[in-house]
Amino acid sequence: MIALLTDYTFQTVAMGAMVLGAVAGVLGVFAVLRQQSLVGDAISHAALPGICLGFLATGSRDLGPIALGALATGGLGALSVLGLVRATRLKTDAALGAVLSLYFAVGIVLLTYIQGQPNAAQAGLEGFLFGQAAALSRADLGLMAALAAVALGLLALGWKEVKLATFDPVFARTQGLPVLALEIGLTVLIAVAVVIGLQMVGVVLMAAMLIAPAVAARAWARRLESMALLAALFGMTAGLAGALVSAAGPQLATGPLIVLAATVIVAVSLALAPERGLVAAWLRRRAQRRRLDEREVLATLLRLGRDHADPDYPAEQGMVDAYHRLGTAGALARLSDHGMVARAAHRPGEGTHWVLTPRGRATAEDDEVRP
């Protein structure tokens, strides 16, 4: 373990994965909140022709020009989606699908064109499809960190404006904010995050790096700031976990493992988050249902007493069951625990009998006046 943690390659990969997790997590928050989750998918596919063009321009696998090309066509792809939706009758889903598949197709055409050229350096270009974390160099890592710092810095500068434009674009416009410019700026920042992730997870899986941490964070957080921080934390955790597991074996690709780790975080968050979690919601619903059952049983006992002109009429449990068409044993036991009903003496051979206690009667009568 110690040997692994001090391993040079592992350190590089782990740090790269955490940088990616942090920046994709924060920017993904806005993509998810603005219901543009799949824009990242379109951008990452649209980055492929840019990767090829960057390579064609320099003839080398340096990440710099490749990242620049990816940013250019990725951003162009995102703008194409915006343009198609605004200028034509195509809906967002069709625009996204058309843009991502067409840019990708052009990218594949360029890729095969490059592969036909006599240049040994092109060998690793296909790694961008699925990511090739192991090939990450310290220089690449430096570039990733610099891009991430710029993207997060720009976001921090415009935080208040972006926040307002995200939650209330109409009000933002009345305040004189350039909402369209902010939207485009945010899309470009998402494109930067995608470019950072290309080397790590590749074009296909990049969408998940934007979406998963944000969705997981949304389950826990109520405020945008805490959601962004949590998303960054979750993204980094997923990155580190993916890097750790993939170090266990040579066949374990880092990119897919990071995505699976992020998916696990989402599943746990959706299940266990205290307020918005599915388990918490189920428990709340069960508690409500039980409370309702108890109140109805009390009301039944009260009415039975009235019908028999005997406030202390002992009702047999089977009869209460019949009234409710379901088992009331649980509700009666809980009511007994709360001192609302008490067991009554009954003839041998009959079922348990219950009477209302004074407290139970008061509660039942109270429910009647305030139904």
């Binding site: 799949l38 200028a87 197709a105 990218g107 890729l111 995505v259 918005r276």
Partner: protein, 384 residues
């Protein structure tokens, strides 16, 4: 040339595969687009990679009916997961898609890495397809040796075509008015699931040829281009088919000429059709909408001139206001716009010159009155 010679010709078989992939995809694409489920294609075509790997691990089959069945199941599971996530209220539709398919795809890629290092089933061909080699893998059909991909794609295209023809009315109503379809007992949800099942089956059949992402292009882009060209569903499906076939033919020719990916070039050519439709579509194209907007602007200018003239017709400033110069000084138009509008108004017979002063003709006055005094038209209707 005998039929067998045709089946033995690599070029013809590559072309046939491309055309069949395009046709099968373009048959179901229009409905996916109109139901706003285009991105489900993206989700399905990626996540069935997991299905393919699982079926291979269990049965050892890389293609064939078992694989198609497995893909249909995986596709439906994908959509069910997306729907369940969206229905939980915790995740929006688009985020649900973006969560489910990368997870399933990542699982598939990992399993491939772990168990399939040495066999033909590699990620590269799954994602990109190898349409250039479809003629290598053949089966015997009715005494002929035919490439497997052509046979599979022909069957899938036939099934898709029969589905669309047989359920045309159901598909149409379920797409445009799900509530009506439900009320009429046309089971819109079942129709929807059937459509997605066919999408999954088509995706896995098309995988060998064009791969996951280019398949999306064939499903979405030709119908999207057709959607910009027509308002009728029947025409949309037919046009989409035509565009698909055209893209396959031209893409193949260009790929040969430039020595690049055949599948990629075919998919890219569907994009050319989309750009073309985007520019010159008769009603929704950018050119025609720009022309219509300009025509409306010109019409409005003439109307504005008529209104201006009518406002001052009976007033004392008539000699100052109702002259050509006032269009520039009072309406704020530049010289070119003023001159063009005046010429148009005269040519259309709404305005006549009386020396320096501009006057309205009967038709010009009627046009201005329709805006300034709309009650007169209503009164005229009453009097009639």
């Amino acid at each position: 040339m005998t039929l067998q010679a045709l089946f033995d010709d690599p070029g013809a078989m590559i072309l046939a595969t491309g055309i069949l992939v395009g046709a099968a995809a373009a048959l179901i694409g229009p409905f996916l687009i109109l139901r706003r489920a285009a991105m489900l294609t993206d989700a399905i075509s990626h996540s069935i990679v997991l299905g393919i790997v699982l079926v291979w691990l269990v049965s050892g089959a890389i293609k064939g009916p078992l694989q198609i069945l497995g893909a249909v199941l995986t596709g439906l599971v994908t959509v069910a997961l997306v729907e369940a996530l969206a229905r939980s209220g915790r995740v929006k539709d688009d985020a649900a898609i973006g969560l489910v398919f990368p997870a399933l795809f990542a699982g598939g890629v990992l399993l491939l890495n772990l168990y399939a290092g040495d066999i033909h089933l590699d990620i590269h061909s799954v994602l990109l397809g190898e349409i250039g080699f479809v003629w290598l893998d053949t089966v015997a059909v009715a005494g002929f040796t035919v490439p497997q991909a052509v046979v599979t794609m022909a069957v899938v295209t036939l099934v898709n075509g029969l589905f669309v023809l047989a359920l045309w009315k159901e598909l149409k109503i379920a797409t445009f008015d799900p509530a009506l379809a439900q009320a009429l007992g046309l089971a819109p949800r079942a129709v929807g699931w059937g459509l997605l099942a066919l999408t999954s089956g088509t995706a896995v059949a098309a995988f060998d040829a064009v791969g996951a992402v280019m398949f999306i292009a064939f499903v979405i882009v030709p119908p999207a281009a057709a959607y910009l060209l027509t308002d009728r569903l029947g025409t949309m499906v037919t046009l989409g088919l035509g565009i698909s076939v055209g893209a396959s033919l031209s893409g193949y020719a260009l790929a040969l000429a430039w020595d690049v990916s055949i599948g990629g070039m075919m998919a890219a050519m569907t994009g050319v059709a989309l750009v073309f439709a985007l520019l010159v579509g008769p009603r929704h194209g950018l050119v025609s909408t720009a022309l219509a907007r300009a025509a409306r602007a010109r019409e409005n200018a003439v109307r504005a001139l008529a209104i201006h003239l009518m406002t001052h017709e009976t007033s004392s400033e008539r000699r100052v206001e109702n002259v050509a110069e006032a269009m520039r000084t009072h309406l704020g138009w530049n010289a070119a716009r003023a001159a063009a509008t005046l010429a148009r108004a005269e040519a259309q017979g709404h305005v006549k010159r009386d020396g320096e002063v501009l006057g309205l003709t009967a038709s010009g006055r009627a046009m201005a009155a329709a805006v300034l005094e709309p009650w007169r038209r209503d009164l005229a209707l009453v009097e009639d």
